[in-house]
Amino acid sequence: MIPQSFEYHAPRTVAEASSLLARLGSDGKILAGGHSLVPMMKLRLAAPKHIVDIGRIAELAHIREEDGTIQIGALATHFNIESSPLLKDRCPLLVETAREIGDVQVRNRGTIGGSLAHADPAADWPAAILALGGEILAVSARGERRIPARDFFLDVMTSALEFDEILTAIRVPALPARGGDAYLKLHHPASGFAVVGVAARVLLNAQGAVQEAAVGITGVAPKAYRATGVEAALRGKSPSARHIEAAASHAADGIEVNSDLYASADYRRHLAAIYTRRALERAAERAAAS
Protein backbone atom coordinates (compact mmCIF):
# COMPACT_ATOMS: atom_id res chain seq x y z
CA MET A 1 0.00 0.00 0.00
CA ILE A 2 3.01 2.28 0.40
CA PRO A 3 5.07 3.10 -2.69
CA GLN A 4 8.80 3.57 -2.59
CA SER A 5 10.19 7.06 -2.76
CA PHE A 6 10.74 8.78 -6.08
CA GLU A 7 11.43 12.18 -7.52
CA TYR A 8 8.46 13.87 -9.05
CA HIS A 9 8.40 15.98 -12.22
CA ALA A 10 5.38 17.71 -13.66
CA PRO A 11 6.22 19.09 -17.10
CA ARG A 12 3.70 21.38 -18.77
CA THR A 13 4.49 20.61 -22.39
CA VAL A 14 5.31 17.56 -24.46
CA ALA A 15 8.65 19.09 -25.36
CA GLU A 16 9.53 19.61 -21.73
CA ALA A 17 8.44 16.07 -20.93
CA SER A 18 10.43 14.50 -23.73
CA SER A 19 13.62 16.29 -22.82
CA LEU A 20 13.13 15.18 -19.22
CA LEU A 21 12.68 11.59 -20.33
CA ALA A 22 15.73 11.78 -22.55
CA ARG A 23 17.72 12.97 -19.59
CA LEU A 24 16.38 10.44 -17.08
CA GLY A 25 16.81 7.43 -19.32
CA SER A 26 15.48 4.17 -17.96
CA ASP A 27 15.12 5.68 -14.48
CA GLY A 28 12.17 7.76 -15.65
CA LYS A 29 8.62 6.54 -15.84
CA ILE A 30 5.62 8.34 -17.23
CA LEU A 31 2.59 8.80 -15.04
CA ALA A 32 -0.65 9.69 -16.81
CA GLY A 33 -3.89 8.80 -14.97
CA GLY A 34 -1.87 6.42 -12.84
CA HIS A 35 -4.41 3.65 -12.83
CA SER A 36 -2.00 1.06 -14.13
CA LEU A 37 1.21 2.37 -12.60
CA VAL A 38 0.15 3.48 -9.12
CA PRO A 39 -1.34 0.09 -8.16
CA MET A 40 1.97 -1.54 -9.11
CA MET A 41 3.93 1.04 -7.18
CA LYS A 42 1.79 0.46 -4.11
CA LEU A 43 2.66 -3.22 -4.32
CA ARG A 44 6.28 -2.22 -4.88
CA LEU A 45 6.33 -4.25 -8.05
CA ALA A 46 7.33 -1.06 -9.75
CA ALA A 47 9.66 1.41 -8.08
CA PRO A 48 10.75 4.03 -10.60
CA LYS A 49 13.32 6.52 -9.41
CA HIS A 50 11.68 9.37 -11.30
CA ILE A 51 8.05 9.96 -12.09
CA VAL A 52 7.25 12.21 -15.00
CA ASP A 53 3.63 13.21 -14.49
CA ILE A 54 2.26 14.21 -17.88
CA GLY A 55 -1.17 14.79 -16.37
CA ARG A 56 -0.82 18.56 -16.60
CA ILE A 57 0.03 18.73 -20.28
CA ALA A 58 -3.13 20.34 -21.58
CA GLU A 59 -2.40 19.57 -25.24
CA LEU A 60 -2.73 15.83 -24.55
CA ALA A 61 -6.37 15.96 -23.52
CA HIS A 62 -8.46 16.20 -26.65
CA ILE A 63 -10.91 14.26 -28.73
CA ARG A 64 -11.43 15.52 -32.27
CA GLU A 65 -12.13 14.49 -35.81
CA GLU A 66 -10.04 15.52 -38.78
CA ASP A 67 -10.96 14.33 -42.25
CA GLY A 68 -12.66 11.14 -41.15
CA THR A 69 -9.96 10.30 -38.65
CA ILE A 70 -10.63 10.48 -34.97
CA GLN A 71 -7.74 11.64 -32.85
CA ILE A 72 -7.80 11.07 -29.12
CA GLY A 73 -5.19 12.63 -26.89
CA ALA A 74 -3.38 10.26 -24.55
CA LEU A 75 -4.86 11.96 -21.50
CA ALA A 76 -8.47 11.44 -22.52
CA THR A 77 -9.97 9.45 -19.68
CA HIS A 78 -12.11 6.42 -20.22
CA PHE A 79 -15.01 8.51 -19.02
CA ASN A 80 -14.21 11.32 -21.46
CA ILE A 81 -14.49 8.76 -24.21
CA GLU A 82 -17.54 7.03 -22.78
CA SER A 83 -19.38 10.32 -22.59
CA SER A 84 -18.17 11.95 -25.83
CA PRO A 85 -21.05 12.90 -28.13
CA LEU A 86 -18.61 13.03 -31.05
CA LEU A 87 -17.45 9.46 -30.47
CA LYS A 88 -20.96 8.19 -29.82
CA ASP A 89 -21.81 9.39 -33.30
CA ARG A 90 -18.55 8.81 -35.16
CA CYS A 91 -16.83 5.91 -33.42
CA PRO A 92 -19.27 4.14 -31.11
CA LEU A 93 -16.94 1.18 -30.61
CA LEU A 94 -14.76 3.37 -28.43
CA VAL A 95 -17.74 4.40 -26.33
CA GLU A 96 -18.86 0.81 -25.94
CA THR A 97 -15.35 -0.29 -25.00
CA ALA A 98 -14.85 2.51 -22.51
CA ARG A 99 -18.01 1.49 -20.66
CA GLU A 100 -16.61 -1.97 -20.02
CA ILE A 101 -13.40 -0.77 -18.36
CA GLY A 102 -12.91 -1.08 -14.61
CA ASP A 103 -15.49 0.90 -12.68
CA VAL A 104 -16.74 4.47 -12.55
CA GLN A 105 -13.86 5.76 -10.45
CA VAL A 106 -11.28 4.04 -12.63
CA ARG A 107 -12.91 5.42 -15.76
CA ASN A 108 -12.90 8.92 -14.33
CA ARG A 109 -9.20 8.87 -13.85
CA GLY A 110 -7.63 6.20 -16.06
CA THR A 111 -6.51 7.33 -19.51
CA ILE A 112 -6.50 5.65 -22.89
CA GLY A 113 -2.85 6.52 -23.39
CA GLY A 114 -1.80 5.09 -20.08
CA SER A 115 -3.72 1.91 -20.64
CA LEU A 116 -2.28 1.33 -24.10
CA ALA A 117 1.26 2.07 -23.00
CA HIS A 118 0.87 -0.39 -20.14
CA ALA A 119 -0.10 -3.09 -22.65
CA ASP A 120 -1.79 -5.32 -20.14
CA PRO A 121 -2.80 -8.45 -22.02
CA ALA A 122 -6.30 -8.27 -20.57
CA ALA A 123 -6.93 -4.54 -21.00
CA ASP A 124 -9.85 -3.48 -23.17
CA TRP A 125 -8.44 -0.70 -25.34
CA PRO A 126 -5.96 -2.84 -27.28
CA ALA A 127 -8.79 -4.94 -28.73
CA ALA A 128 -10.67 -1.87 -29.92
CA ILE A 129 -7.68 -0.03 -31.31
CA LEU A 130 -6.55 -3.16 -33.16
CA ALA A 131 -10.00 -3.77 -34.62
CA LEU A 132 -10.16 -0.17 -35.78
CA GLY A 133 -6.71 -0.42 -37.39
CA GLY A 134 -5.63 2.59 -35.38
CA GLU A 135 -2.24 4.11 -35.04
CA ILE A 136 -0.39 5.38 -32.05
CA LEU A 137 1.55 8.62 -32.00
CA ALA A 138 4.73 8.63 -30.00
CA VAL A 139 6.95 11.62 -29.36
CA SER A 140 10.44 11.75 -28.01
CA ALA A 141 13.31 14.20 -28.12
CA ARG A 142 14.20 12.37 -31.31
CA GLY A 143 10.92 13.32 -33.01
CA GLU A 144 7.48 11.86 -33.61
CA ARG A 145 6.58 8.48 -35.01
CA ARG A 146 3.34 6.76 -35.84
CA ILE A 147 3.07 3.16 -34.82
CA PRO A 148 0.34 1.04 -36.37
CA ALA A 149 -1.66 -0.69 -33.65
CA ARG A 150 -0.75 -4.11 -34.96
CA ASP A 151 2.94 -3.35 -34.42
CA PHE A 152 2.40 -1.75 -31.06
CA PHE A 153 1.73 -4.66 -28.73
CA LEU A 154 4.79 -6.84 -28.41
CA ASP A 155 4.29 -9.08 -25.40
CA VAL A 156 2.96 -9.15 -21.86
CA MET A 157 2.99 -5.52 -20.69
CA THR A 158 5.46 -4.71 -23.42
CA SER A 159 4.72 -2.22 -26.15
CA ALA A 160 6.77 -0.79 -28.98
CA LEU A 161 7.35 2.42 -27.04
CA GLU A 162 10.92 3.24 -26.13
CA PHE A 163 11.49 4.41 -22.58
CA ASP A 164 11.98 7.98 -23.69
CA GLU A 165 8.84 8.09 -25.83
CA ILE A 166 5.55 9.62 -24.82
CA LEU A 167 2.39 8.18 -26.25
CA THR A 168 0.64 11.41 -27.23
CA ALA A 169 -2.41 10.37 -29.19
CA ILE A 170 -4.34 7.59 -30.86
CA ARG A 171 -5.77 7.90 -34.33
CA VAL A 172 -8.58 5.69 -35.58
CA PRO A 173 -10.86 5.89 -38.60
CA ALA A 174 -14.41 7.02 -37.95
CA LEU A 175 -17.22 4.57 -38.56
CA PRO A 176 -17.82 4.54 -42.31
CA ALA A 177 -21.17 4.11 -44.01
CA ARG A 178 -22.49 0.54 -43.91
CA GLY A 179 -20.23 -0.10 -40.97
CA GLY A 180 -21.07 -1.46 -37.55
CA ASP A 181 -19.04 -2.42 -34.54
CA ALA A 182 -19.30 -3.97 -31.11
CA TYR A 183 -17.26 -4.80 -28.04
CA LEU A 184 -18.18 -7.77 -25.89
CA LYS A 185 -16.39 -8.95 -22.83
CA LEU A 186 -16.44 -11.59 -20.15
CA HIS A 187 -15.37 -9.82 -16.97
CA HIS A 188 -13.25 -11.48 -14.36
CA PRO A 189 -15.52 -11.38 -11.30
CA ALA A 190 -12.88 -9.82 -9.06
CA SER A 191 -10.54 -7.69 -11.14
CA GLY A 192 -12.98 -6.80 -13.91
CA PHE A 193 -10.25 -7.49 -16.46
CA ALA A 194 -11.24 -9.23 -19.68
CA VAL A 195 -11.13 -13.01 -19.47
CA VAL A 196 -11.89 -12.48 -23.10
CA GLY A 197 -12.78 -9.23 -24.86
CA VAL A 198 -13.64 -9.01 -28.51
CA ALA A 199 -13.92 -5.83 -30.56
CA ALA A 200 -15.36 -6.25 -34.02
CA ARG A 201 -15.97 -3.92 -36.88
CA VAL A 202 -17.91 -5.06 -39.95
CA LEU A 203 -18.22 -3.13 -43.20
CA LEU A 204 -20.85 -4.30 -45.65
CA ASN A 205 -20.78 -3.67 -49.36
CA ALA A 206 -23.72 -2.37 -51.30
CA GLN A 207 -24.96 -5.92 -51.78
CA GLY A 208 -24.96 -6.54 -48.04
CA ALA A 209 -21.99 -8.90 -48.05
CA VAL A 210 -19.01 -8.39 -45.78
CA GLN A 211 -16.53 -6.12 -47.46
CA GLU A 212 -14.20 -6.06 -44.51
CA ALA A 213 -14.32 -7.47 -41.03
CA ALA A 214 -11.83 -6.61 -38.34
CA VAL A 215 -11.56 -8.38 -35.02
CA GLY A 216 -9.34 -7.44 -32.09
CA ILE A 217 -9.11 -9.85 -29.20
CA THR A 218 -7.82 -9.20 -25.70
CA GLY A 219 -7.51 -11.33 -22.58
CA VAL A 220 -6.73 -14.47 -24.50
CA ALA A 221 -3.05 -14.27 -25.39
CA PRO A 222 0.07 -12.63 -23.95
CA LYS A 223 -0.83 -9.64 -26.10
CA ALA A 224 -3.98 -8.44 -27.80
CA TYR A 225 -4.14 -9.50 -31.43
CA ARG A 226 -6.03 -9.22 -34.69
CA ALA A 227 -7.90 -12.43 -35.48
CA THR A 228 -6.85 -12.46 -39.12
CA GLY A 229 -8.18 -15.95 -39.70
CA VAL A 230 -11.65 -14.81 -38.74
CA GLU A 231 -11.40 -11.73 -40.90
CA ALA A 232 -10.28 -13.66 -43.98
CA ALA A 233 -12.97 -16.27 -43.52
CA LEU A 234 -15.71 -13.67 -43.45
CA ARG A 235 -14.49 -11.40 -46.23
CA GLY A 236 -16.88 -11.44 -49.17
CA LYS A 237 -19.45 -13.62 -47.40
CA SER A 238 -22.93 -12.67 -46.38
CA PRO A 239 -23.06 -11.97 -42.65
CA SER A 240 -25.31 -14.93 -41.97
CA ALA A 241 -25.27 -16.69 -38.62
CA ARG A 242 -23.69 -19.69 -40.28
CA HIS A 243 -20.88 -17.71 -41.91
CA ILE A 244 -20.18 -15.75 -38.79
CA GLU A 245 -20.05 -18.84 -36.65
CA ALA A 246 -17.73 -20.59 -39.09
CA ALA A 247 -15.45 -17.58 -39.25
CA ALA A 248 -15.48 -17.06 -35.48
CA SER A 249 -14.21 -20.57 -34.95
CA HIS A 250 -10.83 -19.27 -36.13
CA ALA A 251 -10.66 -16.73 -33.31
CA ALA A 252 -7.61 -18.24 -31.66
CA ASP A 253 -5.98 -19.94 -34.61
CA GLY A 254 -2.23 -20.03 -34.27
CA ILE A 255 -2.37 -18.15 -31.00
CA GLU A 256 -0.52 -19.07 -27.85
CA VAL A 257 -3.39 -18.89 -25.38
CA ASN A 258 -3.08 -17.80 -21.77
CA SER A 259 -4.04 -19.97 -18.89
CA ASP A 260 -4.70 -18.80 -15.37
CA LEU A 261 -6.62 -19.73 -12.28
CA TYR A 262 -9.92 -18.51 -13.69
CA ALA A 263 -9.79 -19.91 -17.20
CA SER A 264 -7.64 -22.57 -18.79
CA ALA A 265 -6.23 -22.16 -22.26
CA ASP A 266 -8.87 -24.56 -23.64
CA TYR A 267 -11.69 -22.62 -22.14
CA ARG A 268 -10.28 -19.27 -23.26
CA ARG A 269 -9.95 -20.60 -26.78
CA HIS A 270 -13.59 -21.61 -26.66
CA LEU A 271 -14.67 -18.27 -25.20
CA ALA A 272 -12.73 -16.44 -27.87
CA ALA A 273 -14.78 -18.17 -30.57
CA ILE A 274 -18.11 -17.61 -28.81
CA TYR A 275 -17.48 -13.96 -27.99
CA THR A 276 -16.11 -13.34 -31.47
CA ARG A 277 -19.27 -14.77 -32.96
CA ARG A 278 -21.46 -12.67 -30.70
CA ALA A 279 -19.48 -9.50 -31.33
CA LEU A 280 -19.54 -10.06 -35.10
CA GLU A 281 -23.26 -10.74 -35.04
CA ARG A 282 -23.90 -7.54 -33.21
CA ALA A 283 -21.53 -5.54 -35.40
CA ALA A 284 -23.08 -6.96 -38.56
CA GLU A 285 -26.59 -6.18 -37.32
CA ARG A 286 -25.54 -2.62 -36.65
CA ALA A 287 -23.84 -2.35 -40.01
CA ALA A 288 -26.99 -3.56 -41.72
CA ALA A 289 -29.08 -1.10 -39.76
CA SER A 290 -26.82 1.85 -40.49
Binding site: K42, V104, Q105
Partner: protein, 154 residues
Amino acid sequence: MKIKVKVNGAWREDEVEPRLLLVHYLRDVAGLTGTHIGCETSICGACTVLVNGEAVKSCTLFAVQADGAEILTIEGLAPDGQLHPLQQGFWEEHGLQCGFCTPGMILASYQLLKRNPHPSPEEIRQGLEGNLCRCTGYQHIVKAVEWAAARMSS
Protein backbone atom coordinates in the same frame (compact mmCIF):
# COMPACT_ATOMS: atom_id res chain seq x y z
CA MET B 1 6.90 19.25 -2.28
CA LYS B 2 4.39 21.93 -1.50
CA ILE B 3 0.82 21.34 -2.61
CA LYS B 4 -2.26 23.51 -2.37
CA VAL B 5 -5.68 21.91 -2.40
CA LYS B 6 -9.19 23.01 -1.59
CA VAL B 7 -10.63 20.42 0.74
CA ASN B 8 -14.33 20.67 1.54
CA GLY B 9 -14.35 24.31 0.58
CA ALA B 10 -11.20 25.48 2.34
CA TRP B 11 -7.81 25.90 0.75
CA ARG B 12 -4.83 24.45 2.52
CA GLU B 13 -1.13 24.16 1.77
CA ASP B 14 1.08 21.34 2.90
CA GLU B 15 4.54 20.04 2.36
CA VAL B 16 4.31 16.41 1.23
CA GLU B 17 6.52 13.60 0.03
CA PRO B 18 5.82 12.90 -3.65
CA ARG B 19 4.96 9.30 -2.83
CA LEU B 20 2.25 10.25 -0.34
CA LEU B 21 -1.04 8.83 -1.52
CA LEU B 22 -3.98 11.20 -1.59
CA VAL B 23 -5.89 9.04 0.87
CA HIS B 24 -3.04 9.25 3.36
CA TYR B 25 -2.84 12.98 2.79
CA LEU B 26 -6.52 13.38 3.57
CA ARG B 27 -6.44 11.10 6.60
CA ASP B 28 -3.06 11.77 8.15
CA VAL B 29 -2.23 15.31 7.05
CA ALA B 30 -5.66 16.92 6.75
CA GLY B 31 -7.05 14.81 9.59
CA LEU B 32 -10.14 13.78 7.66
CA THR B 33 -10.48 10.17 8.70
CA GLY B 34 -13.93 9.64 7.19
CA THR B 35 -12.20 8.43 4.02
CA HIS B 36 -11.25 4.80 4.58
CA ILE B 37 -8.79 2.30 3.15
CA GLY B 38 -10.13 -1.16 2.38
CA CYS B 39 -7.78 -2.74 -0.14
CA GLU B 40 -4.45 -2.18 -1.81
CA THR B 41 -5.43 -2.80 -5.37
CA SER B 42 -7.90 -0.06 -6.30
CA ILE B 43 -10.85 -2.41 -6.12
CA CYS B 44 -12.91 -1.69 -3.01
CA GLY B 45 -13.75 2.00 -3.34
CA ALA B 46 -13.74 2.70 0.42
CA CYS B 47 -11.37 5.59 -0.29
CA THR B 48 -13.62 7.24 -2.86
CA VAL B 49 -13.62 11.05 -2.79
CA LEU B 50 -14.50 13.66 -5.38
CA VAL B 51 -11.64 15.43 -7.10
CA ASN B 52 -12.83 18.36 -9.21
CA GLY B 53 -16.30 16.87 -9.11
CA GLU B 54 -15.30 13.39 -10.21
CA ALA B 55 -15.33 10.29 -8.02
CA VAL B 56 -11.85 8.84 -7.72
CA LYS B 57 -10.17 6.22 -5.61
CA SER B 58 -7.92 8.34 -3.48
CA CYS B 59 -5.58 5.39 -2.85
CA THR B 60 -4.65 5.44 -6.52
CA LEU B 61 -3.55 9.04 -6.71
CA PHE B 62 -0.52 10.74 -5.33
CA ALA B 63 -1.35 13.84 -3.35
CA VAL B 64 0.92 15.80 -5.68
CA GLN B 65 -1.35 14.89 -8.59
CA ALA B 66 -4.18 16.64 -6.80
CA ASP B 67 -2.22 19.88 -6.43
CA GLY B 68 -4.59 22.72 -7.24
CA ALA B 69 -7.68 20.52 -7.15
CA GLU B 70 -10.94 20.80 -5.25
CA ILE B 71 -11.65 17.79 -3.12
CA LEU B 72 -14.88 16.75 -1.48
CA THR B 73 -14.80 14.13 1.26
CA ILE B 74 -17.62 12.71 3.33
CA GLU B 75 -16.97 15.35 5.98
CA GLY B 76 -17.79 18.05 3.45
CA LEU B 77 -21.14 16.65 2.40
CA ALA B 78 -23.11 18.08 5.30
CA PRO B 79 -21.17 21.25 6.06
CA ASP B 80 -23.90 22.95 8.06
CA GLY B 81 -25.01 19.79 9.83
CA GLN B 82 -27.92 19.36 7.43
CA LEU B 83 -27.60 15.82 6.11
CA HIS B 84 -27.27 15.42 2.36
CA PRO B 85 -30.22 13.46 0.89
CA LEU B 86 -27.86 10.57 0.25
CA GLN B 87 -26.78 10.48 3.87
CA GLN B 88 -30.41 10.68 4.87
CA GLY B 89 -31.27 7.94 2.37
CA PHE B 90 -28.62 5.60 3.73
CA TRP B 91 -30.04 6.20 7.20
CA GLU B 92 -33.69 5.78 6.21
CA GLU B 93 -33.15 2.64 4.15
CA HIS B 94 -30.55 0.92 6.33
CA GLY B 95 -27.94 1.31 3.60
CA LEU B 96 -25.12 0.56 5.98
CA GLN B 97 -24.16 -1.84 8.72
CA CYS B 98 -20.55 -1.58 9.84
CA GLY B 99 -20.27 1.75 8.04
CA PHE B 100 -16.74 1.25 6.78
CA CYS B 101 -17.60 1.32 3.07
CA THR B 102 -20.28 3.97 3.60
CA PRO B 103 -18.37 7.21 2.97
CA GLY B 104 -17.01 5.85 -0.31
CA MET B 105 -20.36 4.38 -1.20
CA ILE B 106 -22.12 7.69 -0.57
CA LEU B 107 -19.62 9.65 -2.65
CA ALA B 108 -19.82 7.18 -5.52
CA SER B 109 -23.59 7.51 -5.32
CA TYR B 110 -23.21 11.29 -5.33
CA GLN B 111 -21.35 11.02 -8.63
CA LEU B 112 -23.96 8.62 -9.96
CA LEU B 113 -26.89 10.91 -9.21
CA LYS B 114 -25.09 13.89 -10.64
CA ARG B 115 -24.74 12.11 -13.96
CA ASN B 116 -28.03 10.26 -13.82
CA PRO B 117 -30.60 11.81 -11.47
CA HIS B 118 -33.17 9.03 -11.98
CA PRO B 119 -31.27 5.77 -12.14
CA SER B 120 -32.96 2.38 -12.31
CA PRO B 121 -31.96 -0.19 -9.69
CA GLU B 122 -29.82 -1.84 -12.35
CA GLU B 123 -28.09 1.44 -13.14
CA ILE B 124 -27.45 2.02 -9.45
CA ARG B 125 -25.84 -1.40 -9.14
CA GLN B 126 -23.68 -0.73 -12.21
CA GLY B 127 -22.80 2.72 -10.92
CA LEU B 128 -21.55 1.23 -7.67
CA GLU B 129 -19.47 -1.55 -9.20
CA GLY B 130 -16.35 0.16 -7.92
CA ASN B 131 -17.46 -0.05 -4.30
CA LEU B 132 -17.48 -3.19 -2.23
CA CYS B 133 -19.73 -3.73 0.75
CA ARG B 134 -19.44 -6.96 2.69
CA CYS B 135 -22.35 -6.36 5.08
CA THR B 136 -25.51 -5.33 3.28
CA GLY B 137 -25.75 -7.48 0.16
CA TYR B 138 -26.23 -4.06 -1.53
CA GLN B 139 -30.03 -4.17 -1.67
CA HIS B 140 -30.59 -1.54 0.99
CA ILE B 141 -27.89 0.58 -0.63
CA VAL B 142 -29.84 0.50 -3.87
CA LYS B 143 -32.92 1.57 -1.94
CA ALA B 144 -30.97 4.31 -0.20
CA VAL B 145 -29.84 5.77 -3.52
CA GLU B 146 -33.40 5.55 -4.85
CA TRP B 147 -34.60 7.34 -1.74
CA ALA B 148 -32.10 10.13 -2.28
CA ALA B 149 -32.88 10.38 -5.99
CA ALA B 150 -36.55 10.81 -5.20
CA ARG B 151 -35.81 13.40 -2.52
CA MET B 152 -33.42 15.36 -4.72
CA SER B 153 -35.83 15.56 -7.61
CA SER B 154 -38.77 16.66 -5.46
